[in-house]
Amino acid sequence: MSLPSENTADSALPTPSGPPGDLAIWFFILAELLAFGVFFVAYAFTRLNNIELFDTYQRLLDTRTGLINTLALVTSSYFALRAVIAIRHGRSLHCARWLWGAIGLGGLFVVVKLFEFSVHTQGGVTLSTNAFYMFYLSLTFFHFMHVLMGMVILGVVAWKAGHGGYSAREHTGVETGAAYWHMVDLVWLILFPLVYVMR
């Protein structure tokens, strides 16, 4: 029996109602979004009283690294979606390959971010340098840790998918890992313009 094509639009296998993956991950995602949301709003209101300082130091950030990292995460998130599509069609190996690709792009994000952190460190920048750097370093490091955690989760899922651990009927783990990874992407989509561009 041939497997259905991943290009067959909405004829893919249906799943039960509710969000994809384990319901618990969605409560976790909501909690994470709220935590980042508090950070974002605190940044915006703190800037209100330190506009010149924030604008001055924001201009010192390298927008190109922000661009590379945004493209890496957006594409990585797309790969995670392709992994979900693949496993819903029963294509375990395709699923694993898309996930390893997503992890690879997560690795690119990590390398670029570590480069950025090292530049700041060599320049003597710390959390206590000023209010802008306090937010910049805290927010980006907090997000960085989520990227690492997401890569570990996707790694476990990819390994299992590569060993036939998921099927078209049972693939909760793939959807759960992908949902978390999309959250990491979503947070960065707000963080990047807020911290690197908006002034």
Partner: protein, 91 residues
Amino acid sequence: MKTKILPTATATRVWLALVALTLTTFTLGVFGYQGIGLVVTVLAIALFKAHLVVDHFMLLRRGAPLWRALLTGYLILIGILIAVPFALAGH
């Protein structure tokens, strides 16, 4: 009610839209634009991108109305709470 997944072609179009919007934001930043026009434009682009992720990558568009509403509501709330202090900053 059943949730259905995106066709691959649609997923790819959404990804390309996200890339294009990212490049737009980057370009606005590189050219040194600032002020309320930049803030509103860049914030709107960011929230629209996040909305695309919620709907098409997280697969909440169909079959999960509660979670879609929660995340969309979050984006709207965050957008307002970020925009207000930027507007008050005198842009």
